[in-house]
């Protein structure tokens, strides 16, 4: 099973739609609730980052035999210092984004907490790819 989503980088009001859709897919397949929740939280944070930091991009969500693997790709500014970005509370989000309740600097830590595995590939000026997986 495989789903592909385009992630709009301009419309913040639809941010989270890929995560919501994929959650529905998992529920329909009878995936255990705790796993659905882990996927939903980790995927949402990665999706929001693609929107607010990456300027939009794309997402691949695959259900494999023993795990769910979700990849977000963008061609945004990239991350200069990944270990800094991973710290709780670190955020470069601007005031407009913060007013919407984003930019708490807890997104990457949340992915770390809820996904069983995560990896970030990034190059400044080129873009960022975040892969997260949750064991079934």
């Amino acid at each position: 099973m495989h789903k592909y989503y385009k992630i709009d980088g301009k419309d913040f009001s639809i941010a989270g739609e890929a995560s919501s859709d994929f959650k529905t897919v998992l529920k329909k397949l009878g995936t255990p609730a705790e796993i659905v929740r882990k996927v939903a939280i980790a995927m949402y944070e990665a999706e929001i980052n693609t929107v607010i930091h990456g300027g939009g991009g794309e997402c691949d969500a695959a259900i494999e035999k023993d795990k769910i693997v979700i990849t977000f790709r963008d061609q945004g500014p990239g991350i200069a210092d990944i270990s800094l970005a991973m710290q709780e509370g670190y955020s470069t989000a601007n005031d407009k984004i913060r007013e919407l309740g984003f930019g708490a600097g807890m997104g990457l830590p949340n992915i770390q907490k809820y996904a069983d595995d995560m990896s970030i590939e990034t190059e400044v000026g080129k873009g960022t790819t975040v892969v997260l997986s949750i064991n079934l």
């Binding site: 009001s13 941010a15 949402y44 949340n110």
Partner: protein
Amino acid sequence: MKISELAETLQLELLTEPDYDDREITGCYIGDLLSWVMGRAKPQDVWITVMSNVNIVAVASLADAACVVVSEDVPIEDAVLQKANMQDVVILRSPLPSYELGLRVHEAAGI
């Protein structure tokens, strides 16, 4: 305690459709920063917030909150409520500040 009982006891205003899934409430989380709520709220929590933009719907749904209670009578746009109805997210509202609401939830539901 069920959502409907909490709504009645605390005189909460139901903003979304009345034929909602009357879930059991087992906890309460107060917060306005979406990633904190996402990472720290537990399934079946009442989520109390002053945030009212459309992103609260996705957060409540994905974090599996029982319902959202918007405090301080913060205004909410129709588009937000429409989306909430589509995603089966229950949104209630109260004139009380978040702290007071939390206290009332504790008194009413023992959580």
